[in-house]
Symmetry: C2
Subunit: 524 residues, 2 copies
């Protein structure tokens, strides 16, 4: 980490560079992916895993006590027959995959932490095909695992047992784009980065951006209510998604694909499906409100001595950068002070530069920040973001990382890091926090040389209990999926969970959609 110091410019020099009369270069916000495209770690052979999903969760070493994250027993869904295959081959000619090698990458999540044993992958191209598939599966009591880019982190996007994988990969058409309103409609399987590239040519951007953009599908983003790097500025998908087309468990097509900013005619049904992780319906098309492409983007990398200074800097920057602030990320390490990455995006390079200059001068004068660097060009912006990303990458060199995605009142997010450090003492190799200060979202990472059940037992449920005491969320943006479904009560009261169960029963009475996910096992 000390190397970061050597790579930074002196902040005073940066301030000279940022004089009010200099003009920033126009720079698109291009960042390296936090994770490589899925293909970078494929193919994976079964022998690398050698255990089924349930075993992974119960521990391959044969622990008798099953952890709350362990998969429950297989539910009594039907098994696939030759007749089923015949039916699917008739409606999806050439798009019915049964070859185990081809199925491999869809059975395993990209963290390589869970694996299912599905023997059937379907690749529909149209909503009508999805509808036919689900109608058939519902009547036959066959379980289905809807899958987008399979970049999820909680085991929600892969089968647990032999669920049929329903991939949106071939549903990748852009349907319409209105250049006056900025409203895009597209099929669910469009890759986020492809949508971004399409929009940039039209002077717009997607309202969300995340590390997995090169692989993730917009349908999966909506199904998991993905947060990401632009949430601070453009808000959550509950506000930017204007319409959805969804196929319900029985094959019924629910058309809520409005392209209107305002529509108060009855209950806003689409909201139910945002963040439901494919358990209530399969999203087949999305309409979304896109912001104009900023003409000016700047990134600053700063150091603060204490978390209190970091929060004061945040307040200062919200006041002085105001409407151009588009990211305020932090990362900490046991060996250095706190680092802050601030991004601005706006419509006037000169004005943005002046605001940034004034903010940095004030932050230096008030001794809130100690050092840092300012990126005024595209290549330097990329370099700064990749510096932030390298820190997370560096964690993997420690061996094994236990990852948590916690939402807390902003002023409390760092307390969890220090409390966890104290609580674990020597048992962890390192405890590192980073995340989105602006959203109160902490990514907590605990590393050890290898998987360590004793360490895990020291972390959980400590981390969840701590979060619940502060009325935080045990999953800020990753969702619950398979891995965290039984921890839901730490963040939601039992009445709310029971109501979720009623909604699930109403929309998918046979429970064929993404079983074993999102809702806890002890639900009636």
């Amino acid at each position: 980490m000390a190397g970061i110091y050597q790579r930074t410019l002196n902040l005073r020099a940066a301030l000279r560079h940022l004089s009010p009369h200099s003009t920033f270069s126009s720079a698109a916000t291009v960042r390296h992916s936090l994770v490589g495209p899925r293909s970078s770690f494929l193919p994976i052979t079964t022998s690398q895993f050698g255990v089924c999903c349930r075993k992974l969760h119960t521990g391959a070493d044969g622990h008798k006590l099953r952890s709350p994250a362990a998969a429950p027993d297989r539910l009594p869904f039907s098994r696939i027959t030759q007749g089923d295959l015949d039916f699917f081959r008739k409606i999806l000619p050439g798009r019915v995959i049964t070859d185990p090698d081809l199925l491999e990458s869809s059975n395993v999540d990209w963290l390589k932490s869970v694996r299912g044993s599905s023997e059937l992958l379907l690749r529909p191209q149209t909503t009508e095909e999805v509808s036919q598939i689900l109608k058939y599966c519902n009547s036959r009591n066959l379980a289905v695992n809807p899958q987008g880019g399979n970049t999820g982190l909680v085991g929600g996007s892969v089968p647990v047992y032999d669920e049929i994988i329903l991939s949106t990969a071939l549903m990748n058409n852009i349907l319409t784009f209105d250049s006056i309103s900025g409203i895009l409609t597209c099929q669910a399987g469009c890759v986020l980065e492809n949508l971004s590239l399409y929009l940039e040519e039209k002077d717009y951007i997607m309202p969300l951006d995340l590390g997995a953009k090169g692989s993730c599908h917009i349908g999966g983003n909506v199904a998991t209510n993905a947060g990401g790097l632009r949430l601070l500025r453009y808000g959550s998908l509950h506000g930017t998604v204007l319409g959805l087309e969804v196929v319900l468990g029985d094959g019924q097509v629910l058309d809520c694909l409005a392209t209107l900013r305002k529509d108060n005619t009855g209950y806003d049904l689409k909201q139910l499906f945002i963040g439901s992780e494919g358990t209530l319906g399969v999203i087949t098309a999305v309409s979304i409100l896109c912001p104009r492409k900023p003409k000016s983007v700047n990134v600053v990398f700063l150091g603060c001595e204490t978390f209190e200074q970091l929060l004061k800097t945040f307040q200062l920057c919200r006041g002085m950068l105001g409407e151009i602030l588009s990211a305020y990320e932090f990362l900490d390490s046991e060996y250095c002070p706190f680092y802050v990455v601030i991004e601005t995006s706006g419509s006037d390079p000169k004005h943005d530069g002046e605001k940034l200059h004034n903010f940095l001068e004030e932050a230096m004068t008030s001794s809130l920040v100690t050092d840092g660097t300012v990126a005024t060009e595209d290549s330097k912006i990329k370099a700064l973001w990749s510096m932030r990303e390298r820190v997370t990458e560096a964690l993997t060199h420690d061996g094994f990382t236990y990852k948590y995605d916690i939402s807390l009142p902003v002023e409390k997010i760092y307390q969890l890091v220090t409390d966890m450090r104290e609580h674990l003492g020597d048992r962890a190799k390192s405890v590192v926090g980073y995340g989105h200060v602006g959203d109160g979202n902490l990514h907590l990472n605990v590393t050890s040389p290898a998987k360590d059940p004793a360490l895990l037992a020291a972390i959980e449920p400590f981390v969840y209990e701590w979060t619940a005491r502060c009325h935080g969320s045990i999953s800020a943006e990753h969702g619950l999926g398979l891995k965290k479904r039984n921890y839901i009560y730490y963040s939601k009261p039992s009445q709310a969970v029971a109501l979720m169960g009623n909604i699930k029963a109403m929309l998918d009475p046979k429970g064929i959609l993404n079983p074993y996910k999102t809702l806890p096992d002890n639900l009636k």
Copy 2:
């Protein structure tokens, strides 16, 4: 309308005034209410109306064919007994209103268009009291009409028959405010303007603002998914509301009152209640994300010769004003060109002034705008907004106004005005459109000297059919309430409406919450 010209400054003069080196005064966005506080038209005596809600809707002149907006027959709810009154007086000492004079203002909507005949008004102060009331009403099969500030425009906020009125007026405490994150939590009965005043002292604002702010309650705003003047900038309540506490029909308290920007633990239940018009539960508390108070606010009033120029001006201004654009409203009249009201709000008065100057210069050079005025001071900003509001007020001088709140693709919003004018010909006194261009929201007004059933028959269903052909919404921000419930199929497919019915049946099986509202009569 011609008077507006005389009151405007010449735009060229305004541009001189707006030279890049001048500084705008810091101005809070204070506007006159579009409507006076409720008390301004009260007390109303029964003789002024003399007809019950159903008669009003079927036409007091005894038309035999009931219009789709007419109230259905009273459902078989219980009648209030002395025992019921005794119970309520015990749990709400001194807050059980049965005096007909005191009930009068709660039985009539502020448009004076519908009236109920409730004989009981309850004024709980706490969530626990609301819970006790609903638990009792549910067991006794007594219908309940939840009521906030009673400023709704579609007859959703008053009883239709003898429903018990449950007022949130005494639930007006602010619970918490976090000055770092800007997250406010408060009881549902807080008046919007009071929340705004509270926040302004802390350098924040509410993310919504509307004409009725002096009377409307935040709970009612959320229950009706109110849009208003800041939606273009801060988005809808589906994005800014972070948590809700809701009491369900059976008295169960659903605590989803999170104060987190990110929380992906299960289905986002609170979304169901946003815009459900009190038919699914009674909102008792709200947590909402508030933006920082802008340091600089400017308002421009411009004239455009054609709607095409108005749209081009909108595009230009989105590009050049970018992140500081906070409103783009238009109004038209048969006697003058189009008027545009543009509001900017930002963090740096000098930068905002420069952006505005450059935009106006470009708009003039390109001959997109013909004339206008710029407000750089608080008093002039108020004067400009009230000029916009006076036009709507002026309509009332024509006699009777038929009002529609339509959402359309932006480029189509004016076509409806011209088509309606052509369609109605001499039958209407005037056809006037105004609204929020930025949101694609048209407020269409048709005036006549008096109520005119033949004119109404010419407007409806023409206006709804026209809107449906363009995939618009027949209620952009006002909701459906009593008056528009049966028009829902113009904007929503039957599958979606059926699903809404299932949700209603699940959450309120006895149907005691705000009956006859939102959902159509022909629902199974």
